[in-house]
C-alpha cells in the first residue's frame, strides 16, 4: 500500500509543478475545503431570513450582499458549494464505476454483448439531458438524489465508451497476449492488467467532467428542477439573481462566479492530471 501512496504523491507533485495544474489544485482545494467546513465558515445561517437587511450591496458584514429575503449571499455561496460537490462527486464517481465496468465488459466480452451495451449507451445518449431530467423530476419530484441520478445516468455512456475503446485497444496489445500465454485468466487480465491502464484515462475524464456536472446541477436548479428551496445551490442563486438583476447585480455575481471558478479549477486540474498520469507522456519526463 505504501507503494501506491508514493505514486499518488508523485502525481500530486507532478500536477503542482505545472502552473495551470497548481492553479487548479488551489481552486479545487479551496472549494473542497469550504464545502467540508462550510458549517464553520459561514458568517450567517445560509437559509436564515432577515427582511430588514434585504437586497443589500457588499459590505464588511455581508461580503456579497444579501438577497430579496435578506439571506447572506456569501454564506449561501459557501453552502452551495457543498451541494454542488454532493451532486458532482457521487454522480461522477458512480457514472465512472458503472461506465468502466460496462465498458470493459463490452470491450472484452462477446460481440453480441458489445452490440447490446452499445445500443443501450446510444439510447441513453440520444435523450436530451434536460428533457430526461424533466421526465424524471415529473415522476419522482425534485430532490438532490434525483439530480444525482439524472446526472449519473446521462454520463455513464461517456465513460462506458471510453472504457470500451481502451479495452479494445488493449486486448490486442502484445503484453496482454504475453499475460494470456503466461496462463492469466480473464478476470486477472481485466482486473490486474487492463484496469490500471484504463482507470487513469477515466480519472482524467472524471476530473474534466465535474465542472460539467456542477453546471448541469446549477442549470437544473435554475430551471427549478434541482434541489428544493431554501437549500442553497449555485443554480438557485443565479436564478434569484437573474430575476432581481435590475435591483442588485450582486446576486448574479454570487451565483455565477463560483460556477466559473469551479469549472476553471477542475478543468485545469483535469488537463494537468492527464499529462501527468498518461504513461506515454510520463516516459518523456
Amino acid at each position: 500500500m505504501a507503494k501506491s501512496r508514493s505514486e499518488l504523491g508523485q502525481i500530486i507533485t507532478g500536477v503542482a509543478r505545472d502552473p495551470l495544474g497548481l492553479m487548479g489544485l488551489i481552486i479545487v482545494g479551496t472549494i473542497v475545503f469550504c464545502a467540508i467546513f462550510a458549517y464553520w465558515i459561514v458568517p450567517f445561517d445560509p437559509v436564515g431570513m432577515n427582511i430588514k437587511s434585504r437586497l443589500q450591496g457588499p459590505s464588511w458584514t455581508h461580503l456579497l450582499g444579501t438577497d430579496q429575503l435578506g439571506r447572506d449571499t456569501f454564506s449561501r455561496v459557501i453552502a452551495g458549494g457543498q451541494v454542488a460537490l454532493q451532486v458532482a462527486l457521487p454522480a461522477v464517481f458512480g457514472a465512472m464505476a458503472i461506465g468502466l465496468t460496462l465498458g470493459m465488459i463490452a470491450g472484452y466480452g462477446p460481440k453480441w454483448l458489445d452490440n447490446l451495451l452499445m445500443l443501450l449507451f446510444d439510447t441513453i445518449r440520444s435523450f436530451p439531458t434536460v428533457m430526461f431530467a424533466l421526465a424524471v423530476v415529473a415522476l419522482v419530484g425534485p430532490s438532490l438524489q434525483t439530480v444525482v441520478f439524472v446526472v449519473m445516468a446521462t454520463s455513464i455512456p461517456t465513460y462506458g465508451r471510453v472504457a470500451r475503446t481502451q479495452t479494445l485497444t488493449l486486448r490486442n496489445s502484445e503484453f496482454i497476449l504475453a499475460e494470456r500465454s503466461m496462463g492469466a485468466s480473464m478476470t486477472r487480465i481485466l482486473g490486474v492488467h487492463m484496469l490500471p491502464n484504463i482507470v487513469g484515462v477515466l480519472a482524467v475524464l472524471a476530473a474534466m467532467d465535474i465542472p460539467t456536472v456542477i453546471a448541469l446541477e446549477a442549470g437544473l436548479s435554475f430551471l427549478g428542477l434541482g434541489v428544493k428551496p431554501p437549500t442553497p445551490s449555485w443554480g438557485a442563486l443565479l436564478k434569484d439573481g437573474y430575476s432581481l438583476i435590475r435591483q442588485t447585480p450582486w446576486l448574479v455575481v454570487g451565483g455565477g462566479l463560483p460556477i466559473i471558478l469551479a469549472t476553471l479549477g477542475f478543468t485545469f486540474l483535469g488537463e494537468s492530471l492527464r499529462d501527468v498520469v498518461d504513461p506515454k507522456l510520463r516516459k518523456q519526463r
Partner: protein, 325 residues
C-alpha cells in the same frame, strides 16, 4: 520414446479468410526432446507464428485445426479443455516474445508484474518478491531488489528482454518458446541474450523451441533445426548436418543468402528469386518448385518428408535415391 516432450504430428492449420482458406500450416511434424534446443528457421510468413500460437492454443478466432495433434508429454493439447490449457501456460510451457518494448504492462512496475505471474504459488508476498529478485539476478540485472520497483519504460530493450526471459523461466517450465527473442535487439545484445539463454537452459534444464530467421544464431544455440517454407517442413535434422550438408535446395539457398556465409565482398546480397506462393491458392506439387533452379518433371508431385539418415529428414525428390525408405 519416453524422453519426447513435445510432439507435433501431421499438424495442419487453416485461417478462414474472405479469399478462402489460407493453408498456414500443412502436415507439420517434428518433436522436441526433454532439455533439447530446437530451432525453427524460415522467412516471414512461413507459419512460424501460427505454429507457436497453435502450441499455446492462443490462435486468432478464424483459425481452424484441420488435422494432426500437438502432444505435450503425451497429451494432445488441441483436445484439452481451455481451463486445463490455461494451467499449462506459464507453468509447463512459457514464451518469450519478439519485441521486448511491447511485452510488459506499461503501468505496472516490474515487481508487480513478476509477483502477479506467480499467482499459482501459495508463497507469501515477501517470498514471491524474493523469488522475483532472484530471477532478475539470474538473468543478469544488477541490483535486482531495487529495480523491482521500476517501471518497464525505465529499462533498456536488452534489459526488458532479459526480464521477459526471467518471467518466462520463473515457473521452471519444461518448454520455453522463444519467438525471435533477439530480432528486435542489436548484434551485441543478441550475443549476450543467446549466451544467457544457453546458461539458463543448462541451469533449468528446459527444452527450448527457438524461432529465428538468423541462421548464425540457430547454428550457435540449437541442437537440431527445422527448416520451414510456406507452411511446411522442408528439412529437419541435427544442426551440424543441416549446415554442412543441406539436402533441400531451399535450405541450401537460405544458407547461401546468410550474410555471415558470404566470403567475398558483393555489391548486391544474394537472394532467392521469386516469391512465396499464395497460401490461399496453393499450386500443386512441391511448394518450392517455382523458385527452385533444380526442379525436374518429378516436382509436380508433392515430395514426402523422407528420412535420409538417423535424425535428418528432407522433402525433396532429389534425395530420393539416397532416401532409405
Amino acid at each position: 520414446m519416453t524422453d519426447t516432450l513435445l510432439e507435433i504430428d501431421r499438424l495442419s492449420v487453416d485461417y478462414e479468410t474472405a479469399r478462402g482458406d489460407l493453408k498456414a500450416l500443412r502436415d507439420i511434424s517434428f518433436d522436441i526432446r526433454k532439455g533439447e534446443i530446437v530451432g525453427i528457421v524460415g522467412e516471414s510468413g512461413c507459419g512460424k507464428s501460427t505454429l507457436i500460437s497453435s502450441i499455446l492454443r492462443l490462435t486468432a478466432p478464424n483459425t481452424r485445426f484441420r488435422q494432426g495433434e500437438v502432444r505435450f508429454k503425451g497429451q494432445d493439447l488441441l483436445q484439452l479443455p481451455e481451463r486445463k490449457m490455461r494451467d499449462l501456460r506459464g507453468a509447463d510451457i512459457s514464451i518469450v516474445f519478439q519485441d521486448p518494448m511491447q511485452t510488459h504492462n506499461p503501468v505496472l512496475s516490474i515487481g508487480q508484474q513478476m509477483l502477479d505471474i506467480q499467482h499459482r504459488s501459495k508463497a507469501s508476498k515477501a517470498e514471491k518478491r524474493a523469488r522475483a529478485a532472484q530471477m532478475l539476478g539470474a538473468v543478469g540485472i544488477p541490483d535486482p531488489e531495487a529495480r523491482l520497483d521500476q517501471f518497464p519504460h525505465e529499462f533498456s530493450g536488452g534489459m526488458r528482454q532479459r526480464i521477459a526471459i526471467a518471467m518466462a523461466l520463473m515457473s521452471e517450465p519444461d518448454l520455453l518458446i522463444a519467438d525471435e527473442p533477439t530480432t528486435a535487439l542489436d548484434a551485441t545484445l543478441e550475443v549476450q541474450i543467446i549466451e544467457r539463454l544457453q546458461e539458463l537452459q543448462q541451469e533449468f534444464n528446459c527444452a527450448i523451441l527457438f524461432i529465428s530467421h538468423h541462421l548464425g544464431v540457430i547454428a550457435e544455440l540449437c541442437d537440431r533445426v527445422v527448416v520451414m517454407y510456406a507452411g511446411a517442413v522442408v528439412e529437419s535434422g541435427e544442426v551440424r548436418e543441416i549446415f554442412h550438408d543441406p539436402k533441400h535446395p531451399y535450405t541450401r539457398r537460405l544458407i547461401d543468402c546468410d550474410p555471415g556465409h558470404i566470403k567475398e565482398r558483393a555489391r548486391v546480397l544474394p537472394t532467392i528469386p521469386g516469391e512465396v506462393p499464395d497460401l490461399a491458392n496453393l499450386p500443386g506439387g512441391c511448394i518450392f518448385r517455382d523458385r527452385c533452379d533444380l526442379a525436374t518433371a518429378r516436382c509436380v508431385e508433392v515430395p514426402p518428408l523422407a528420412k535420409l539418415k538417423e535424425g535428418h529428414h528432407a522433402a525433396c525428390w532429389l534425395n530420393h535415391k539416397e532416401a532409405a525408405e
